[in-house]
């Protein structure tokens, strides 16, 4: 019984993660300029990756596999934003202008 619940839960997480990964990739295509595309990549890096890893952890159960997945999650939460920040900063330093919404709010 418990196993089935865990299984179903992990499938929900995995599929949710897959959907967010797809959405992030679509965003990276649809958004108009480099800086806005970074936000789409963030969706992939946080929610997509996070949900897939949590789904796999539920499949792994209490074992070293789960520990490694947890470690991956931990690494990704540090490396992801650092890489995105580095990209944004390098782009800004090379005078790549962001598209800004000029309309009055």
């Amino acid at each position: 019984m418990m196993d089935t619940v865990l299984d179903v839960l992990s499938w929900i997480f995995l599929l949710g993660g897959a959907i967010f990964l797809l959405v992030g990739a679509i965003g990276a295509l649809r958004f108009p300029d480099f800086y806005t595309r970074l936000h789409a990549v963030s969706v992939c890096d946080t929610m997509g990756a996070g949900l897939v890893l949590v789904g796999l952890m539920l499949q792994g159960g209490l074992s070293l596999v789960t520990v490694k997945l947890l470690l991956m999650f931990y690494f990704m939460m540090f490396t992801g934003p650092t890489a995105v920040h580095a990209l944004a900063e390098a782009a800004m330093q090379s005078k790549l202008k962001p598209v800004v919404d000029e309309r009055e709010p």
């Binding site: 946080t46 650092t82 920040h85 900063e89 800004m92």
Partner: protein
Amino acid sequence: MSKLQHAINLGLFLFALWVLLSGHYTPLMLLFGVLSTLFVVFLATRADLIDRETQPILIKLSVLFYWVWLGREIIKSNIDVTRRILSPGLPISPTVFTVRAGQKTELGRVTYANSITLVPGTVTMDVDKDVFTVHALTREAAADLKRGEMNRRVCNVEIVF
């Protein structure tokens, strides 16, 4: 804390990591674990990296609370960004603005900067001492950040570091 204490902490953390990664608990493998840990701590000392920031023990309770709060924020803004990506009109209003970080230490500031980037909808573009240049996907996300709740929360956990 003294430098020695920091080195010992790092060593203990690395050894725990080794044990968790390894999965082979013969005396030989554990001995290798000890040797590897000592070697890495030696290199880190030589690289002059041993100080408070190398301490990956951010497992204090209040930090954990911060992470839970941050997780909730991330989920909320993810759903928001997802809605915007999928809606046909692409309702975004990108803005660039600056915020002031109230943290005293480098580690605190970096935590704040990375938290901003981690939440989809806002990306830290530049860190100049305590002034961050931030790019936001929408005006709402920008207004949300300017309210300064995240800044306050990072300041609160910073004391624990």
